[in-house]
């Protein structure tokens, strides 16, 4: 069994992994940049190692520094989390070379899946239906343009090394193709250090449904059902749920079989996700995410399983702790990603101190966060503040529970997307379960609507009443002991 695990990440996912370690009796080692010295993930871990300045390229993305931190702390394994180095085969290989168990697939399988182009070929060979597409050998603008002509409009320009919607552009006509190709290549090169592009037919009106898979070193490959991530803004997932309102039992079974076949064909190990597009009762392989997903909690909540614990067991060489026929989906879980961003200003990421941050405590609501009141939301990293996951017997009840949790989750000091999330949850197309991946981008304007700017009288009264510290201190004296048992 792993004895001491270095977590090569930060924020909520690092905390999530620390908790799994604690339950398994594994020692945890956090790494941190200079901006994260007092971050919750650092305080929660058993040990912590500084790995450099705030910019991620010089800390969380530096393979030599993370490997050195693992050596220095005496770790025998590394969990990459998601983002950062999690899907970098060179990092996985560097861990293996340093004698560290890597909590994820072997570098060879990761490299196969990391190339979206090679992953498509493997999926097709494994019998999974794939989206029609074309990979231009000639990567010049003329070459990519020719590939778009072969695929036909509307087309999607994608980065071979892509993820999270970066380096991706939709082209509907020949007019602005060159600027789209340039933008995709620029973004891909900046984000992944690889500007290789390919072209896929844009399947419109489809849902994004992914299958969680787990594979161990003993030949066991299993699926852990699906997550529906159709609520996306510019290919960034915003709300995820399980089960998918769009799947029949038959379609679910066929997709799960295809996902397991792809994982087997790729000689995949540990936790991974096979992404599909679903429309008109058909499904198409999209890509493989060779890591733990941001949205893994919805799977954990509907199955009662601990995916991170399973990851650590598999990385320790143990067999998967469950058999396929032992697991089931129960009830419905929905996750909303709370981001520090301002929907009214084009979703600009926000930075600043969390002046007030109080998580609601509601049965059936799980909050995975990497911040506390007083934390700085920094410009250096992903603006995800918290994931709020609501679980209930039915989809409608889970939606209601999630909305009530968001309405009771005050976050002040940075703008967040909470009002936007609440409008999505209240939208008929969402509650009806009929949306596709284009929903948010089509409805964008109405969902960020600014028509409720009127400040209610009682809100104005409270804001004005507390208008100086003298007043607040007087209020303190009045109410002390009566209301606040922890008061000074």
């Amino acid at each position: 069994m792993i004895r001491r695990l270095l977590i090569a990440n930060r924020g909520e996912i690092a905390l999530r992994i620390v908790r799994a370690c604690r339950e398994l009796g594994v020692e945890s080692v956090a790494v941190h940049s200079d901006a994260d010295v007092f971050s919750p993930h650092v305080l929660a871990a058993d040990r912590a190692v500084g790995i450099g300045p705030a910019p991620a390229a010089e800390s969380y993305l530096s393979i030599p520094r993370v490997i050195a931190a693992a050596r220095e702390s005496g770790a025998d394994a590394v969990h990459p989390g998601y983002g950062f180095l999690s899907e970098n085969p060179s990092f996985a290989a560097a861990c293996v070379d340093a004698g560290l168990a890597f909590v994820g697939p072997p570098p060879s399988a990761m490299a196969r899946m990391g190339s979206k182009i090679e992953a498509r070929a493997i999926a097709a060979a494994a019998g999974a239906p794939i989206v029609p597409g074309d990979t231009p050998a000639d990567q010049s603008n003329a070459g990519v343009r020719a590939a778009i002509d072969r695929v036909g409009f509307p087309a999607l320009i994608k980065a071979s090394a892509g993820g999270g919607g970066r380096g991706m552009r939709t082209v509907r006509d020949a007019g602005d193709v060159d600027s789209m190709i340039d933008a995709a290549r620029r973004e891909a090169a900046a984000a992944f250090g690889d500007g290789t592009l390919y072209v896929e037919r844009l399947i419109e009106g489809a849902r994004h449904v992914e299958i969680q898979v787990l594979a161990d070193n003993h030949g066991n490959v299993m699926h852990v059902f699906e997550r529906d991530c159709s609520v996306q803004r510019r290919h960034q997932k915003v709300i995820e749920e399980s089960p998918s309102p769009a799947l029949t039992a038959g379609l679910r079974a066929r997709m799960a079989d295809a996902a397991v076949a792809v994982a087997r064909a790729a000689e995949y190990r540990n936790a991974g996700t096979i992404e599909f597009l679903v429309g008109d009762g058909q499904f198409f392989f999209l890509e493989v995410n060779a890591r733990l997903q941001v949205e893994h909690p919805v799977t954990e909540e509907v199955t009662g399983l601990d995916l991170v614990r399973a990851q650590l067991l598999v990385a320790s060489g143990e067999p998967l702790p469950w058999r396929q026929d032992e697991i089931a989906q129960r009830g419905h879980a929905i996750e909303a990603r709370v981001y520090a961003e301002d929907p009214e200003q084009g979703f600009l990421p926000q930075a600043g101190p969390l002046l007030l941050y109080r998580e609601p405590n509601i049965p059936g609501v799980r909050i995975d966060a990497g911040v506390v009141e007083g934390s700085m939301v920094s410009v250096y990293y992903d603006p995800l503040i918290a994931k709020v996951i609501a679980t209930a017997e039915t989809r409608a009840l889970a939606i209601a529970r999630l909305a009530s949790a968001l309405r009771a989750f005050p976050i002040l000091g940075v703008r967040t997307n909470v009002p936007y999330l609440l409008r999505i949850l209240a939208h008929d197309a969402f509650s009806g379960g009929t949306i596709d991946t284009g929903f948010l981008d089509r409805e964008g304007a109405t969902l960020v609507s600014v028509d409720d700017k009127e400040v209610p009288a009682h809100v104005r009264a409270v804001a004005a009443a507390d208008d100086d510290t003298r007043h607040a201190r007087a209020a303190d004296r009045e109410t002390q002991g009566r209301w606040d048992p922890w008061g000074p």
């Binding site: 007030l356 002040l412 009002p419 400040v455 009682h458 409270v462 004005a464 507390d466 607040a472």
Partner: protein, 131 residues
């Protein structure tokens, strides 16, 4: 509406039509943040002052500043250009994402600051408009 009662650090209750409403408050009086029922309000709520949000809106019609530290990828306009509301004036890149800077209204560009490839600080002046 009943009296405002402080019930904890930054937490207040106030009675409205017989119902108790919980309101969260943070920040200094001139830039106050308030949360109620999933909605966030920000501004200066003292008597005889307009909300900070609206003051900010008015200011944005005269000049645009960088929302965060970023790199200028592309400048699309020059001094004297007439621009339409929503038109992209500059393209910034921060956190590996491209951030278009758009015109807040129809206006004439009176000054453009910075050059392509330049790294700029948060709140750096980018584009000014003739009023």
């Amino acid at each position: 509406m009943g009296p405002v009662t402080r019930v904890g650090n930054g937490v207040f209750t106030v009675e409205v039509d017989g119902r108790s409403e919980t309101v969260y408050v943070a920040g200094p009086a001139h830039d106050r943040w308030v949360f109620w029922n999933g909605r966030v309000f920000r501004g200066d709520f003292r008597e005889n002052r307009s909300g900070g949000r609206y003051a900010h809106r008015a200011a944005s019609l005269r000049a645009l500043t960088a929302p965060m530290p970023a790199t200028i990828v592309k400048i699309h306009v020059k001094q004297g250009d007439a621009v339409a509301k929503g038109q992209t004036l500059m393209l910034l890149e921060a956190m590996k994402m491209e951030l278009p800077i758009r015109a807040p209204g129809d206006a004439i560009v009176s000054a453009v600051h910075g050059r392509e490839g330049q790294l700029i600080a948060a709140d750096a002046l980018l584009v000014e408009f003739a009023v």
